[in-house]
Amino acid sequence: MKLLLGGVLLAAGFAVVPFFTARNDLLNLGVQIFLAVSLAQSWNLLGGYGGQINLGHAAFFGLGALATRILWVDGVPLFFALGAGAVVATAFGVLIGGPAFRLRGAYFAIGTLALAEILRITVGNLMPEISTIPTADLASYSLVPRYYLGLALAIVCVVLVAIVIRSRVGLGIQAVREDEAAAEASGVGALRHKLLALALSTALVGLTGGVYAYYHVSYYPQHAFSPGWTFDAVLISFIGGVGTLHGPILGALFYVILKEFLALRLVELHLLIFGVLFILVVLFLPGGLVEAWSRARRLIGRRG
């Protein structure tokens, strides 16, 4: 209940920002936070709740961006273009997940890693030119609608994941993570639940890619497939608290703001700090910031 209230207040807080300031740097920072929340929450659904490590999240982000950008620049209404991006990402997700999930262990992780590289190289070959929005749209480019679209996207991702994990399907997804054999024995189909989690995860990240494509005036199509997007999603999920609903939100706030702060001072080296932090979290604090917080509270509670 407290968390729900916190979430609503946070969303409302972000929603009123454009009323008080028109500073582009603040609005851009907001969009980055929204994209980070969506990237991480979509990864978290499959990786955290489903227990399946996707090392090619960038592939689905990139596909969403690519499809949305092409259609939108071509004149298709934005919401149809976004939907198409989500559909394309999901289609590829199921295409790779179907065979990979039949095998256990690392096959899904390396399969997605390979898929992301195939797409990155192929898109770089086919579309080496930078993609810029048409001059007519350029004149009317405004940051505020993009800010609100980003906020809406982040809310959709969080709310949808919240609903799913409490539903019957969501409980099945988590049961499969805990013990596949036991889940199967209780009539929860492992493959079906993994595929459902994957389909929803890729749909959401495809949508996120689409918003990215709508947000940026110009970028290289290949860039949306860069492994950096996977790194962002995995790092944020783990640093915040993987397998929890508020972990990726906390992680995204922490990550984007600290990154902005460090990037000015340390340039490239800030990635080193996040990399080390990530490894430490995986080894010694698997619950991330969320777990650190509850541990700290227990410690204070015991003293008081």
Binding site: G51, I53, L55, I96, P99, A100, L103, R104, G105, A106, Y107, A109, I110, G111, L113, A114, L115, E117, I118, I121, T122, N125, P227, F231, V234, L235, F238, E268, L269, L271, L272, F274, G275, V276, F278, I279, V282, L283
Partner: protein, 290 residues
């Protein structure tokens, strides 16, 4: 004609793919962990050869004698600092955590490499770098041929070690069934340590050879991790010579694709092959078990 020449080059690079894959296959087979930072370790070996040559003029083939042991020690350190915590978990979690740790390690090593050595591409250019052996109309680059022979020699030495030496047999026994091995009095923890360090040394030697014939940069890590993964999946687990054969197969497949599809798709063909094998024959072309 062009096809034959390309196939020769593919064969030569294939030996390095095999060597890169052997280290990964060793750690995967024995520790049941998948180190996705394998390509970054290879990159470190490449930079070691490059700097030894650039600063002190040490011949890259000679410096392999130092790079191998140095990377072995790095492997010990990495195991001690990171992977020993991973192998304590049961199998499913072990794979998962090793993927995550390796993933974090790629980011750390990649960033450090850019910071210290810039993002420029480098290569070791020795006085004999341009030498070729001509067979009819074919040109065979001497350094690449030497690399292939060395890769084969290293794998043979490793195969002998695994087959004959006491510790080599301990590694094989642990790979087969670690619980039974532990009951027979084999110190499984030390065997893991040794296998991981050997895998790291193999990556380093492969990197040294890559820097001589091809180029290195901080971003080659992912590319080489994928090459090694492709070869491991092609070959199936268990045999070092399977790795060598798989590597050469990949080299030849890439060469064929360069002739028919052009250079830009060289990397894609191997990855596609990899996905197809994953779907159709996950135990690998030469492997017996899944």
């Amino acid at each position: 004609m062009i096809l034959t020449q390309q196939l020769v080059l593919g064969l030569l690079v294939g030996g390095l793919y095999g060597l890169a894959a052997a280290g990964l296959s060793l750690t995967f087979g024995v520790l049941r962990i998948l180190n996705v930072a394998h390509g970054e370790l290879l990159m470190l070996g490449g930079y070691a050869a490059f700097w030894l040559f650039a600063l002190w003029g040490i011949d890259p083939f000679l410096s392999l004698l130092g790079i191998g042991p140095a990377m072995f020690i790095l492997g010990l350190v990495l195991y001690w600092a990171l992977f020993q915590f991973v192998v304590r978990a049961h199998e499913e979690l072990r794979i998962k955590n090793s993927l995550l740790i390796g993933f974090g390690l790629t980011l750390v090593l990649h960033t450090l490499a850019i910071h210290f050595w810039t993002a420029d591409e480098r290569a070791v250019t020795t006085a004999y770098a341009g030498a070729v052996i001509r067979v009819g109309t074919l040109a065979i680059p001497l350094v690449r041929l030497t690399s292939l022979v060395l890769a084969f020699a290293v794998l043979t030495a490793l195969q002998l070690f695994l087959a004959r030496a006491r510790w080599g047999r301990a590694i094989r026994a642990t790979a087969e069934d670690w619980e039974a091995a532990a009951l027979m009095g084999i110190p499984v923890g030390k065997t893991y340590l040794l296998a991981f360090a050997l895998g790291t040394a193999l990556a380093g030697i492969a990197g040294g050879l890559v820097s001589v014939s091809y180029s290195i940069s901080p971003s080659i890590g992912l590319e080489w991790t994928l090459k090694a993964l492709i070869v491991v999946v092609l070959a199936g687990l268990g045999s070092l010579f399977g790795c060598f054969a798989g590597g050469i197969l990949l080299g030849l497949a890439e060469a064929t694709s360069v002739v028919f599809l052009g250079g830009p798709y060289r990397e894609v063909i191997g990855l596609l092959l990899f996905l197809i094998i994953l779907v159709v024959r996950p135990q690998g072309l030469f492997g017996g078990r899944a």
